[in-house]
């Protein structure tokens, strides 16, 4: 490729995000960071544009066949460059920052999607992606179907919110609980539950005693996060991180699964309090 050709193609790619609502150029090559973002791109029928994904992008099955560029916070500069993408898509979770700046200097654009937790974040993110690919209608359809499912869950939600804990495996053996302003917290709320750890923001390691003292009605865990024997009396549901916290097209399903579990947990609990209570 001559220098001029390269410059021209780089310029064409740079113009991509600005073109907004019109369909992207056919040679648009994207790297998607974040399982929820990847899932939404596939749901919009644009999965064919992806040339690389991060380790959290495990759904749908076809996403697994794509080259993986590793962990979202330690993205490799040359590894991404080698895929010759026109842009890198993420919802604020990609890093390190310096690598993103250097990718930009190499003509690889950074497209940052709205990343707020909750239904609003999901809506804004899905709409942005719809705009990006000129598929606003499809995006709206995804949002509508999720909204319908959420409404159905809301109608069944009991007046008293079950007290719930969301535990997550954070590296080797370290289990953390979700606090405020997390996607896990948003999931619990959408499912009609109440997060017992609302006093802190983000994810924090918590002791078994602190857990017991909160008298949770139900526990949600992802991955290898282990619940202690002391919590054995409390109903526990294990799930997939991406399914629950991806906040993509399957959000409705995820919320309804969690809501059903929470309601059953409370019903089961009414006769006798759990051993730790």
């Amino acid at each position: 490729m001559s220098r001029r050709e390269i410059l021209r193609s780089l310029l064409a790619l740079l113009a991509l995000p600005a073109t907004g609502a019109t369909a992207g150029p056919p040679d648009q090559r994207l790297v998607s960071i974040g399982g929820g973002v990847t899932e939404t791109i596939f749901a919009l029928g644009e999965g064919g544009r992806l040339v690389g994904v991060d380790t959290t992008s495990t759904y749908p099955e076809t996403a697994r066949a794509l080259p993986t560029v590793g962990y979202q916070h330690t993205l490799p500069l040359e590894g991404i460059a080698a895929l010759r993408p026109s842009a890198l898509l993420h919802d604020g979770s990609a890093g390190p920052e310096r690598t993103l700046r250097r990718l930009e200097r190499m003509g690889i654009d950074e497209i940052v999607l709205p990343g707020e937790p909750g239904f609003e974040g999901f809506r804004a993110r899905t709409l942005s992606l719809g705009d990006l690919f000129g598929r606003r209608d499809e995006a709206q359809k995804i949002i509508d179907s999720v909204a319908t499912e959420l409404e159905a869950v809301r109608r069944k939600t009991p007046s008293e919110a079950p007290r719930a804990v969301f535990l997550m495996s954070h590296g080797e053996g370290a289990t953390v609980a979700a606090g405020r302003a997390t996607k896990a917290d948003a999931l619990l709320q959408l499912a009609g539950g109440r997060n017992v750890f609302s006093e802190f923001e983000g994810y924090r390691p918590v002791s078994v005693e602190a857990l017991m003292q909160k008298h949770p009605d139900a526990v949600l865990t992802t991955g290898a996060a282990a619940t202690d024997a002391a919590l054995r009396g409390v109903p526990t549901l294990q799930g997939d991180t991406l399914f629950w916290l991806g906040f993509g097209p399957r959000l409705g399903q995820a919320v309804s699964e969690v809501a059903t579990f929470l309601q059953r947990a409370v019903a089961h609990d009414t006769g006798h309090r759990s051993p730790i209570a």
Partner: protein
Amino acid sequence: MSAVLERAGLAVEGQAPTGSEHPGSRQTRARYVTLALIPALGLVMIIGLLTGAVATSPRDLLVLLPGAGGDEWTRYVLLEVRLPRVVLGALVGAALGASGAALQGLFRNPLADPGLIGVAAGAAFAAVAVIVLGGTVLAPLVGWLGMAALPVAAFLGGLVTTLLVYRLASHQGQTAVATLLLAGIAINAIAGAGTGLLVYMADDQQLRTLTFWNMGSLAQAEWASLAVGAGLIALAFLVLPLAARGLNGMMLGENVARHLGFSVHRLKLLVIVMAALAVGSAVALSGIIGFVGLVVPHILRMAIGPDHRYLLPASALGGALLLVMADAFARVVVAPAELPIGLLTALVGGPFFLWLLLRMRGRLG
């Protein structure tokens, strides 16, 4: 000569039996090996330049020549992505290799690795403190030092821990292996706990910048940040050779060294400050990369003997060679993703360390 060393109970485990060998021939060999390492490093650096997720051919190296044309993309990949990374690998490897050799000479013990005895952990703790507390408690320091704040803090952290380990492990000029390693465990634990505490206090954004300290990485190589650290490491390289003869004297014991006319106190201070400077800067640039400072000087001591006039430069060259090679491997083995380099060096260095322990088991008692 070697009989004298044995009697003095010195760190000569790595040596081949040399009873029949004439000292002069060993010196010749040491000189040749050290000189041979220079073109070897050059070759490995070229291999490093040609290795990576983006496909390049040896002909692409021509873009490195001034005034050469060639395509913009390849030039950027080679000059702005790979070259700084290869240079960083060489610098950090050399710093770890040379400081490992110097510390082993100072402690008169082949197990004195900057990672094992806690110097790297101390440096990392200080660097993490600058990242997490840079906006609050340490703001004046960061404002005053600017971009140099991180390497300077890492240097100070490394210096304090080296002095501490030395104080703890040396008694009347003797260093007890067990005490040294146990002190290293304790200091690693304390520094690790301090770092953990800071990580707990860090916000999400800071947490992401901290990820790479644990495993070590050359991925952040950039000319701008390289310049500061390179200056500090270069200073250590210029000064450390001055300690070579003194370290040779120290092998015969502190008292003998004193009688030979070396100022032992000044020598110790020089080695500790320079080793801390090299390790601290290396940690600031690339996080904790273990075992290079242990493996490289040891292998070279086996090959060329314990004369520090050769051992110090050879360890610097060998460390550079090892790290550049390991990083080239780390970049392609799971491409387009990358392996953390600290993982690779630990994978090679861990078993090597166990082997060393087995060999020394009789003496550790």
